[in-house]
């Protein structure tokens, strides 16, 4: 309740004094949805550098990574963002899954331990965010409980949400299924890896952040 009130007061003050604020933007979603790929794309577009490493093995990002003062310009408007790339949220983490991907046992166990801490950290950071982009893999089932819980928690905190259906370059991608699952939210289909539809993404981002 206090957060909602604080956000409302911030919004009123910002609009009154036209202050250029640092919008805290969180990238959330299940593991391997492409959060870091999108974070890297944004950072490359506006800072000319990457944010973090990406991997085919889940839970590559195991702690919240923050990049400050990213100025994004669009149609004579500019907004400054503080972007937080968060670890993928999951309800299960089994080190044996990492063994199957070829990691050694001690490395797999460490990765699992760090991943559990990462999930906790990501959820704790929710309260810090002004807006959140939920990054989903458009080839996967959107009705998973993790997706619903993330979006439900954001709604409960009154945090504006933009849903990104990533990996639209893949054949199995199904943007319509994600739109049908979350009809009350704007869903933008992109391929962060291949720079597809990023213009639409920035347009939607400005619509909820501006």
């Amino acid at each position: 309740m206090i957060n909602i009130f604080k956000r409302f007061v911030d919004k009123v003050i910002n609009s009154l004094f036209r202050r250029k604020r640092n919008v805290k933007l969180g990238l959330y979603g299940p593991p391997n949805g492409g959060k870091t790929t999108l974070a890297n794309k944004i950072c490359q577009d506006w800072l000319g550098e990457d944010m973090g490493s990406v991997s085919q093995i889940a839970h590559e990002t195991r702690e919240v990574k923050v990049k400050d003062k990213i100025v994004i310009k669009r149609d004579n408007k500019e907004l400054t963002f503080k972007i937080a790339d968060t670890p993928g949220i999951a309800t299960r983490i089994d080190y044996e899954d990492f063994l199957k991907k070829g990691l050694k046992e001690d490395v797999a166990k460490d990765r699992a331990r760090e991943a559990t801490k990462g999930v906790i950290e990501a959820i704790k950071w929710l309260d810090e965010m002004d807006i959140v982009v939920v990054v989903l893999d458009s080839t996967k089932d959107p009705y998973s409980q993790v997706n619903i819980t993330i979006i439900g928690n954001l709604a409960a905190r009154d945090i504006p949400v933009l849903i990104v259906a990533n990996k639209t370059d893949l054949k199995r991608s199904n943007l319509k299924k994600i739109q049908a699952a979350f009809p009350q939210y704007e869903v933008v289909g992109i391929s962060a890896k291949y720079n597809e539809n990023m213009d639409k993404f920035y347009e939607a981002l400005f619509a909820i952040a501006g």
Binding site: T91, V119, I123, K124, D141, G152, A156
Partner: protein, 136 residues
């Protein structure tokens, strides 16, 4: 053998959030699939995930969670009003929550009209494997 335990909402109604989560997670850790009448609040769902992460070790690999919300599929104005009224009267008593240990529940598939609980193949011990060999 898979054990499913039904829990009426009255069992957790008067508990605070952390006690509710502790109870549900405790049952999942005992390899039981919990069918809870009603649902947790959105924040409690987040807390359940955090608590689950704290408990994960080499034996306990987490949970599979699925919540059926009563408002799913309500499109018309009348249906929405009915749901709104039911929500006001019953609160979190509506719906169904399924929580199972990841070692047993492989996946809970859900779409607005159907829910499927897929279990893992039980891990066979060396003794069991030897028995099968002997029979052959």
């Amino acid at each position: 053998m898979i054990t499913m335990q039904f829990m009426p909402y009255s069992e957790i109604e008067k508990m605070d959030s952390s006690s509710r989560i502790k109870k549900i997670l405790g049952m999942a850790k005992k390899d039981k699939i919990v069918l809870l009448q009603g649902r947790l609040t959105k924040k409690e769902e987040g807390e359940l995930i955090m608590k689950t992460m704290e408990e994960i070790d080499e034996k306990f690999h987490g949970i599979e969670l699925s919540i059926i919300y009563p408002e799913n599929g309500a499109n018309g104005i009348v249906s929405k009003m009915k749901n709104g009224f039911a929500n006001f009267m019953l609160g979190e008593r509506q719906g169904l929550t399924i929580v199972g240990p990841a070692s047993i529940v492989k996946e809970i598939k859900k779409n607005p009209r159907m829910i499927q609980l897929l279990t893992n193949e039980p891990k066979r011990t060396k003794k069991a494997k030897a028995k099968t060999k002997k029979r052959r």
